[in-house]
């Protein structure tokens, strides 16, 4: 890991440990969940070159399963999160093995189509509670010991999960596997001609991305104590695309920044009524017209350092 990356990670960690003293912890936890979600998405888009327009499916489904596991099966939070994450992984495998055979906009659309089916399922299925969602999910005791109703414990759990997830993504990008992925994105026929079975690589990164998105969704269910349709709806898939692009696609830190900006915006613009949509729209237009590489992308260009 280059020194400046270590420095940024360390700084970020320090900042996040201090953050709950200055900001509302649940709000930071929300940012963390979305940052992990956006990073997982960016792994697929920025490094795998695959634009999925249906990532809400994994995020939302994991959130439902985790909520159900914690509330109905009475599992401890870590087991519930693992359940949710695994289900997202399996779902990612099923959808991924069909979708990766297609490219570009068709890939995006096929992932969207499956995500809509997942949405439809969530609307209809008994266990998701329809549009009321699964409410009053208990936070429970971590490992049966630590009471997560304490906001501090919960905060550090979420911080640990998100940070571990993001570091794992960092490692994936910079692994031999990541190198092959990059080659495939750059020139797929050439990678094939060198003997790489590209579909397996694409599927692998798809499943990894879906699983990590699931981890984010499951964690969110524990934080907010609810799982609802908004998390599986297509607008959520759109939101994660926006976070990633705004922060800087294909950069390590971009999605984190993008998630922070968008979540903050949703939170602090909440009093402005219909102006929220107008302001959000303006921000997107401005960012496309003026900083196309995203916030971190632009900084990375100025400092001439990959971030």
């Amino acid at each position: 890991m280059p020194v400046h990356h270590i420095a940024i990670f360390a700084g970020l960690l320090a900042l996040l440990i201090a953050a709950p003293f200055f900001f509302y912890p649940i709000f930071i936890m929300k940012i963390l969940c979305f940052a992990l979600f956006a990073c997982a998405f960016n792994l697929l888009l920025g490094y795998g070159g695959l634009l999925s327009f249906g990532h809400a499916a994994y995020f939302g489904m994991a959130s439902y399963v985790c909520a159900h596991a914690a509330k109905v099966w009475g599992l401890t939070p870590e087991l519930a999160i693992i359940c949710g994450t695994l289900v997202a992984g399996v779902l990612g495998f099923l959808i991924g093995s069909l979708a990766i055979r297609r490219q570009g906009i068709y890939f995006a659309m096929i992932t969207l189509a499956f995500a809509q089916m997942v949405y439809f399922f969530s609307l209809q299925a008994e266990f998701t509670g329809g549009e009321d969602g699964i409410q009053a999910v208990p936070r429970g005791h971590l490992f049966g010991l630590i009471d997560l109703r304490s906001q501090e414990s919960l905060y550090f759990l979420v911080l640990a999960i998100a940070f571990a997830g993001i570091l794992l993504i960092y490692r994936i990008i910079h692994s031999p596997f990541g190198q092959v992925l990059k080659a495939i994105r750059e020139n797929e026929p050439r990678a094939i001609s060198l003997g790489y079975r590209v579909n397996r690589y694409k599927l692998a990164v798809f499943v990894l991305s879906a699983t990590l998105a699931g981890l984010a969704g499951a964690t969110k269910a524990i934080v907010f104590q609810l799982a609802s349709l908004t998390d599986v709806y297509w607008t959520m898939s759109g939101e994660v695309v926006l976070m990633t692009l705004l922060g800087g696609m294909g950069t390590v830190f971009g999605p984190i920044v993008g998630a922070a900006v968008i979540v903050t915006m949703q939170n602090y613009l909440a009093t402005f009524g219909a102006w929220v949509t107008i302001i959000q729209g303006l921000i997107f237009v401005v960012s496309v017209m003026l900083f196309r590489e995203g916030i971190v992308g632009v900084i990375s260009k100025w400092t001439r350092k990959p971030l």
Binding site: Y106, I278, F284, V288
Partner: protein
């Protein structure tokens, strides 16, 4: 009298006809999207908002200026088209050389702004629009009562779709447009005014959305979010037809209307998702959509 799966055949005809009418909206809207995507390589997420704009302009024309529906059919699409031309000149033209993603993001932002402004001004409950005398009332076809307004939708959209298809696929102008999508520099070097052509094309695609909006005004609720839910379905139609394929989007638009109509009879709950199921199936079998050209 024999019945098909418990539905009398007359009723089935009626349902199919209704499906076709819905398909007319899909066809016009997806046609506009296909024109814009096919020729500008921009995924126009503002399309839903522009459709909404068409309906609102129609309403404003009647309520502020007393201009009737028939004139609106002409004026509203032109007005919406002009807003499109302005957007193209100001923003979209700076994105042609970039990945699709940026066009998507920009037009998504523009859609948010447009919808937001209309929500701010008109609220979300919607506005009433009275169909013109010629279109209120209807005919009894024996198997169903067909309101004139609906019959008119089919006719108008079929004519517009065919004309558009002809211009783009069969005329010289269309060939310029298609060529300019791929290599605008070269087409310019042949002596064609490409920037103007592209601006007008975007304007035209948007005007089609506006036209659909006018057709919708007497039938559907006019509110700022009327296009929001439609847009994703229309995207699906374009993809099934084959991104950018003009004929594909028309045929698929009408076809899916029919299929959706049938689903509404046999499995109504599924009628919102059936299009996506079909999209997944089609893409798995035909990677570039039904009428798409592979690169």
């Amino acid at each position: 009298m024999f019945e098909l799966l418990g539905i009398p055949p007359q009723a089935l005809f009626g349902q199919l006809l209704l499906g076709l009418i819905n398909g007319s909206f899909y066809a016009i809207l997806s046609l506009g999207l296909a024109v814009i995507f096919g020729l500008l390589n921009i995924i126009n997420f503002t399309h839903g908002a522009q459709y909404m704009l068409g309906a609102f302009v129609t309403w404003m024309l009647l309520n502020y200026l007393g201009v009737n529906y028939w004139w609106s059919l002409l004026i509203a699409p032109v007005a919406v088209g002009i807003t499109g031309v302005i957007l193209e000149r100001l923003f979209i033209r700076r994105l042609y050389h970039l990945d699709h993603l940026y066009g998507l993001l920009l037009t998504f932002g523009l859609a948010l702004i447009t919808t937001g402004i209309f929500k701010q001004i008109f609220g979300v409950s919607g506005l009433p629009y009275q169909a013109p005398p010629l279109l209120s009332g209807g005919h009894n076809l024996g198997f169903m009562y067909l309101p004139n307004s609906r019959a008119w939708v089919i006719i108008a959209s079929a004519v517009v779709c065919l004309a558009t298809w002809f211009v783009i696929e069969k005329t010289k102008l269309g060939a310029y447009l298609r060529a300019a999508t791929e290599n605008p520099t070269l087409v310019g070097a042949f002596g064609v005014n490409v920037p103007l052509m592209i601006t007008l094309t975007y304007g035209f695609g948007v005007a089609l959305a506006g036209f659909a909006g006018v057709l919708a005004a007497p039938i559907y609720a006019i509110n700022p979010v009327m296009g929001e839910n439609l847009i994703i379905v229309v995207f699906a139609v374009v993809v099934i037809g084959g991104m950018g394929s003009i004929l594909g989007s028309i045929v698929t638009g009408f076809g899916l209307g029919l299929i959706e109509g049938l689903t509404r009879v046999f499995y109504p709950e599924g009628s919102a998702v059936v299009i996506f199921v079909i999209m997944a199936l089609v893409l798995l079998v035909k990677p570039a959509g039904l009428f798409g050209r592979t690169a």
